[in-house]
C-alpha cells in the first residue's frame, strides 16, 4: 500500500520533469546571487535617488540624478562612445573568433595545440593585459613609438584591439564547441551535391551556428557595456574625454568626484540597458523560442 503511494510521484517524475533536480539545488546559487547581485543592485538604485558623498547619510533628492543623466553632455558623449566601442568590438571579435573557432573545430593534432595557445590571453587578468599593452604602446620607449594613446582614433583602436586580444580566445572556444556539434552528414551531403568549402561555410556552418552567434553576441555586448579596466589603465578616458565610456564615467563620478548618487544612476542605467539589449537580441534572433538547429533533419 505504502509502496504504491511512494511509487506514484516517481512515476509522474518520469514525465515532463524527468531527470531534473530538485529546486533546493538552486538555493546556494540563489542566495549568493541575492546577496551579491540583487541586494547591491537594489541599493544602487536607491542611491540613485539620493545625493551622497560617501560620508554621513545619503540625502534624498528625488529624480535629480536621473534628470542630470539626460542633460549631461558628458553622458551623451559617453553613451555614443560606448555604442561605438560595442559595435566595433563586436565586429572585430565576432569575425575573428568565428573564423578561428570554425578552423579550430577541425580534428588534426596541431590544431589542438594551437587552440590551447590561442586560449592563453583569456587566462590573464585584464589589468595585467592592459599594463602590458600600455608599456608596448609607450610613445618613447614602447615597440610602437607613435602617439597611439594620445589621439582619439589611436586610443579607440587600441582599446578595441586589446579587448579583442583578450576575449577572442573565449569566443573562439564557444564557436569551436558550436562548430563541432554540426553533424558531419550535412557536409557529406553537401559535398555529394558539389558544394565547395565556401558554399559549405555559408550554407551549413553559419546557419548551424546561429544560436552560438547569439550567445557569443549577448556576452560581447554586455561585456562591452561593462568594459572598464582596460580603459582605466590605457587611457584614463583620455585624451581629454575621448574614450570616457559609460563605466569609466561611472567610476569617475563615484570614486573620483565622490558623487555616489549620480554614479549609482549611471550604474542603474547600465544594468537596465544591458538587460534590455540582451532581451532584444534574444527576441530578434529567435533564440528564446529554443528551436533546434536540427529541426527538419
Amino acid at each position: 500500500m505504502t509502496l504504491t503511494v511512494d511509487k506514484r510521484p516517481t512515476a509522474s517524475a518520469r514525465g515532463s520533469r524527468a531527470g531534473r533536480p530538485h529546486a533546493a539545488w538552486a538555493l546556494p546559487g540563489v542566495l549568493f546571487f541575492t546577496f551579491f547581485a540583487v541586494v547591491p543592485m537594489a541599493l544602487a538604485l536607491y542611491l540613485s535617488f539620493t545625493s551622497w558623498d560617501g560620508l554621513g547619510d545619503p540625502r534624498p533628492v528625488g529624480l535629480d540624478n536621473w534628470k542630470k543623466l539626460l542633460d549631461d553632455p558628458r553622458m551623451t558623449q559617453s553613451l555614443w562612445l560606448t555604442v561605438v566601442l560595442t559595435v566595433a568590438s563586436w565586429a572585430f571579435q565576432t569575425v575573428v573568433a568565428l573564423l578561428l573557432g570554425v578552423w579550430a573545430a577541425g580534428r588534426q593534432r596541431h590544431r589542438a595545440v594551437l587552440s590551447a595557445i590561442f586560449f592563453v590571453p583569456f587566462l590573464l587578468s585584464s589589468t595585467a593585459i592592459a599594463i602590458l599593452f600600455y608599456s608596448l604602446l609607450d610613445p618613447n620607449f614602447g615597440i610602437i613609438q607613435k602617439d597611439t594613446l594620445g589621439s582619439q582614433s589611436g586610443a579607440f583602436l587600441a582599446i578595441v584591439f586589446v579587448g579583442g586580444w583578450q576575449f577572442i580566445p573565449f569566443h573562439t572556444l564557444i564557436y569551436q564547441g558550436g562548430a563541432r556539434q554540426i553533424p558531419e552528414v550535412l557536409y557529406q551531403a553537401a559535398a555529394i551535391d558539389g558544394a565547395g568549402r565556401y558554399r559549405q561555410f555559408f550554407s551549413i556552418t553559419l546557419p548551424q551556428l546561429r544560436h552560438t552567434i547569439t550567445t557569443s553576441t549577448v556576452l560581447m555586448v554586455v561585456g562591452s557595456l561593462t568594459y572598464f579596466e582596460t580603459v582605466l589603465i590605457l587611457t584614463k578616458g583620455g585624451p581629454g574625454t575621448d574614450t570616457a565610456i559609460l563605466p569609466y564615467l561611472m567610476y569617475e563620478a563615484g570614486f573620483k568626484t565622490y558623487d555616489f548618487g549620480y554614479a549609482s544612476a549611471i550604474a542603474s542605467f547600465l544594468v537596465i540597458a544591458a538587460t534590455g539589449l540582451s532581451l532584444v537580441l534574444v527576441r530578434l534572433t529567435g533564440f528564446g523560442t529554443m528551436r533546434s538547429t536540427r529541426e527538419g533533419m
Binding site: A44, L55, S126, K236, P239, F255
Partner: protein, 453 residues
C-alpha cells in the same frame, strides 16, 4: 616608489589602477554603508576609530617616505608619552593611487582610521563638513611644542576657514623648473628667468631637435602645474585664492585666460613635443625622456630629484639643474611665489576613542628626530628647526635651494586640485585634459571652468 611619490602632488589622482576586486569591494562596502547607515560604526571591529582605544590606527599614503612615518610610530610607541596615554599607534599603509577613495570609503565604515594622512585644505573639507575632524586650533595654541614646531605659513596652508585641522608630517613639495645641465651647456643656454627667454630657449632647442619640456600629459596633474605657475605669475596668488574660496566667477579673471593662451601657444609650438598626451609621469615616461636628454627641461614637484636619483642616479648627481619658474612680462605675481604642496598633514578623526594618544603621536612630528629622518630620506621638513639640519641632507645644495624657496615665498599656493577637493578637482582635471589635448580652446576652457560646481 618614485612614481607614487609623484602622485603626492597629483592628489592620488591618476596613477596605477584599482583592481577589479578592490573596486567591487569598495563599491559594495560603500553600498552597504549606505544601506545600513552609520549605526554600524559604533560596534565595529577593533583597530579603527570604533576600536578599544588602546591601539589607534593611522592611515598613511603608501610610498617610499612611509619608512619615516613607521620610524616615528615605533619611536612614539616606546615613549613615555604613549605610556602616559595608555596605548599604541598602528600604521596602515594604503597604496598611493588608491589612497583617496580608500580613505573616503573607510571613513564612513566601522574600520575608520583614528589618524589619517591628507593634503590639507580642500582635500579634507568634506570630512570637516561631515563633522569628522578634530579642530586642532586650540590644541596647537595651547601646546608649546606644536605652536612653535612648524613654519607658520606651512601650518596655515592646510587650514580651513582659518582653523587648523592638520599637523605637518612630510617634506615640502614646491614645484620647480628642472633642467638638464648637459643639454644647456651644449647649446649654450641659461635657465630662463623671463617668459621671453623661455620662448627663446625653446626656439634654439627645437632647432637642435630637442623637445624643450618633458610633460606627463596622461596624468593631467603635470599639466596643471603650468597653469598654476602662469596664473600666479600673471595675476598673482589672489586669482586662484578667489576660486578656492568658492567664487567660480574667479575663473573669468583675465589671468586665467592669458595663462591658458600661453599654454596653448606652447603646445602648438611643440614645446612639449608631439606625443605628450600619451606620456605619463607616474610610470616613469616623462622622467626618462628628461634624463636621457630627449627633453631639456621638466616642470615638476621637488620629488623629481629623488625620482631621478632612483632611476637615473648619474644624471641626478651630475646634470640635474633646478631654477624658479620665470616671470611673465606684464604680470603682477611675485617671482618668488611658489606653487605645489606645502606639505602633507595628519588629521584626527573626531570619532577616535583616544584623542590624547593621537595628539601625543602628532607631537612627535615636531621632534628633531622626525625632522632628521625626513632629511635623511631626501625631504626638506617644514619644522622650524629644519634650517639647521639641511647640511646633513643627501644633497645639501638642493635642500637649501628648496628650503629658501619656500621660506622666502610671499605666497605658497596649494596645488589647485588639492585646494578644490576631489569633486571639483577631478572636474577641473577633465577640463585641463581637454585644453591640453586640443579639444577645447582657452576661452572654452575658461567658460567650462566657470560652470564647474
Amino acid at each position: 616608489m618614485e612614481s607614487s611619490r609623484g602622485q603626492v602632488t597629483g592628489g592620488g589622482t591618476g596613477g596605477r589602477p584599482f583592481s577589479r576586486r578592490w573596486f567591487l569591494g569598495a563599491g559594495s562596502a560603500s553600498l552597504f554603508t549606505a544601506g545600513l547607515g552609520t549605526g554600524l560604526t559604533a560596534c565595529g571591529s577593533g583597530g579603527g576609530a570604533g576600536g578599544d582605544g588602546k591601539t589607534i590606527t593611522a592611515f598613511v599614503y603608501g610610498d617610499d617616505a612611509v619608512k619615516v612615518q613607521q620610524a616615528g610610530v615605533d619611536r612614539f610607541n616606546k615613549s613615555a608619552a604613549a605610556k602616559k596615554a595608555g596605548g599604541t599607534v598602528k600604521l596602515q599603509e594604503v597604496p598611493g593611487s588608491d589612497y583617496s577613495p580608500k580613505l573616503r570609503t573607510a571613513m564612513g565604515s566601522p574600520s575608520a582610521p583614528d589618524v589619517f594622512f591628507n593634503w590639507g585644505g580642500g582635500s579634507i573639507k568634506p570630512y570637516e563638513e561631515a563633522g569628522k575632524l578634530v579642530d586642532l586650533t586650540d590644541i596647537i595654541e595651547g601646546d608649546p611644542v606644536l605652536k612653535s614646531g612648524f613654519l607658520p605659513s606651512v601650518l596655515a596652508s592646510g587650514d580651513l576657514g582659518g582653523r587648523h585641522y592638520g599637523i605637518p608630517m612630510r617634506g615640502m613639495q614646491p614645484v620647480i623648473l628642472f633642467y638638464n645641465k648637459a643639454v644647456f651647456a651644449e647649446h649654450k643656454l641659461q635657465p630662463p628667468t623671463t617668459w621671453d627667454q623661455l620662448l627663446d630657449n625653446n626656439a634654439k632647442l627645437k632647432k637642435a631637435r630637442i623637445t624643450p619640456f618633458a610633460l606627463g600629459g596622461t596624468d593631467i596633474w603635470p599639466d596643471l602645474m603650468w597653469l598654476e605657475y602662469l596664473v600666479d605669475r600673471i595675476g598673482g596668488p589672489e586669482v586662484f585664492k578667489r576660486i578656492q574660496d568658492g567664487d567660480a566667477e574667479g575663473w573669468g579673471d583675465p589671468a586665467v585666460l592669458k595663462a591658458a593662451e600661453l599654454v596653448k601657444e606652447l603646445i602648438d609650438d611643440g614645446a612639449f613635443g608631439s606625443k605628450f598626451t600619451s606620456v605619463s609621469y607616474v610610470n616613469g615616461g616623462a622622467p626618462a625622456v628628461f634624463a636621457r636628454g630627449k627633453a631639456a627641461m621638466h616642470l615638476m614637484g621637488s620629488w623629481e630629484y629623488s625620482t631621478q636619483l632612483g632611476k637615473f642616479p648619474d644624471f641626478a648627481k651630475k646634470n640635474l639643474g633646478w631654477a624658479a619658474f620665470p616671470t611673465v612680462e606684464g604680470g603682477t605675481g611675485d617671482v618668488r611665489n611658489v606653487v605645489g604642496n606645502p606639505t602633507n598633514y595628519w588629521s584626527i578623526n573626531a570619532r577616535t576613542k583616544n584623542q590624547d594618544l593621537a595628539i601625543g603621536f602628532l607631537k612627535d612630528c615636531a621632534s628633531e628626530a622626525y625632522a632628521q629622518a625626513l632629511i635623511d630620506n631626501g625631504d626638506v621638513p617644514t619644522t622650524s628647526n629644519a634650517a639647521a639640519l639641511l647640511s646633513s641632507a643627501p644633497n645639501p645644495e638642493y635642500a637649501k635651494f628648496q628650503y629658501d624657496m619656500v621660506e622666502k615665498a610671499p605666497a605658497f599656493t596649494l596645488s589647485w586640485d588639492q585646494a578644490l577637493g576631489d569633486g571639483l578637482g577631478t572636474k577641473m582635471h577633465t577640463e585641463i585634459g581637454k585644453l591640453f589635448a586640443g579639444q577645447s580652446s582657452p576661452s572654452e576652457f575658461v567658460t567650462a571652468c566657470k560652470g564647474l560646481k
